[in-house]
């Protein structure tokens, strides 16, 4: 009897896990949901527009302006479709790159210019523009092969108790997702809408900015933007968010 119950519970758990987790959008008010869906009203689209302009602009002004993004990648609507769904991904040299890192690597390797600083208008705009091309596509990152080590580190970090509050990511975003934490509902911590327009920020922001806010919230070490810790955590979050549709730029409170 007990064995049968355990088996049923295990099957149920496996069933639940094979379905995609719900996007944080489900906990938005109807008004905010409508705002996110309508490109005429979603303020994140201002950054997407800016990214579209940067796509066609040479990286430097002057006599030798260098190649635009469009010179190599042509129309982003075709060539960038689905790209964001595969990131973070491991580059040829073994480095784990998120979309921001991939864009900056393109800048240094192919355009011969300085990378954009994290959270700069330009990097947010380009990231939002590239991610927007995968709107509605299910997240599908590789976590085996060269990504396995990064994934394992991200998995560990997600379950590691941290900070003065001694809380792991999982204790809120697995165990208590859907329940209230003060004025808001705890999400599953999926990165499917990033960069997001967060009302608290009154601006677009990256996943790493949000992770830094979470680290601060549990009084833990805030890792740097683009740090290996947050990158591996981002990979693990993307795996958690597998089959969840990309909503960039999402609106969050």
């Amino acid at each position: 009897m007990i064995r049968a119950l355990l088996l049923a519970a295990a099957l149920l758990a496996a069933q639940a896990w094979s379905d995609p987790l719900p996007s944080g959008t489900i906990w938005l008010s109807d008004a905010l949901k409508a705002q996110q869906l309508d490109p005429a009203v979603n303020p994140g689209m201002l950054w997407v527009d800016a990214g579209a302009r940067l796509w066609n602009e040479p990286p430097v002004t002057g006599p030798s302006p260098g190649a635009t993004c469009a010179a190599c990648h042509a129309a982003a609507a075709l060539t960038m479709r689905g790209v964001a769904a595969r990131f973070p991904a491991v580059a040829d040299d073994g480095a784990l790159l998120n979309l921001e890192g991939r864009i900056n690597r393109c800048r240094s390797e192919h355009q011969g210019v300085e990378p954009w600083p994290y959270e700069s208008d330009e990097l947010l705009a380009m990231t939002a523009f590239v991610a927007r091309q995968s709107l509605g596509m299910p997240i599908d990152v590789a976590v085996d092969g060269p990504a396995a080590g990064h994934f394992e580190r991200g998995h560990k970090l997600f379950h590691l108790r941290q900070g003065q509050l001694n809380l792991s990511c999982a204790q809120c975003h697995d165990d208590h997702a859907g329940r209230r934490l003060r004025g808001d509902v705890i999400s599953y911590g999926l990165g499917n809408g990033y960069p997001i327009y967060r009302l608290e920020w009154q601006s677009l922001g990256s996943l790493h900015r949000r992770l830094r806010a979470c680290s601060l919230g549990v009084r833990a070490i805030q890792f740097d933007y683009g740090s290996p810790e947050y990158l591996s955590l981002e990979l693990f979050l993307a795996w958690r968010a597998r089959d969840v549709a990309i909503e960039t730029p999402a609106i969050r409170r």
């Binding site: 490109p39 005429a40 009203v41 303020p43 689209m45 201002l46 950054w47 527009d49 800016a50 302009r53 208008d121 330009e122 705009a125 009154q202 601006s203």
Partner: protein, 109 residues
Amino acid sequence: MALANARVSMPDRAAPGEVVEVKALMRHPMETGYRLDAMGRPIERHIVERFRVRYDGREVFSIDLTQGVAANPFFAFFLKATRTGKVTFIWEDDRGEVTTVTKSLTVTE
């Protein structure tokens, strides 16, 4: 801000007398002037003071903004399409920066 921009959505065609919805979103920090930076120094006020819309040369919408308006102000309003003409959206901020977007509205039977 190098990336300052605005996003205006409205139909480009309408029947005579048709009422169309116009949505205008503008990128602006709307800094209140009441906040302090990390060093305790006041952050200078920087807001859009006026937003006006002209339809075929005539002003059809105008609003004075204050520090109480959040960043990236958004306005939506309805416009009665009477004749073919340009619809011009003008945002003026307190540093003299003016952002203008022009759309065409064609009125056909």
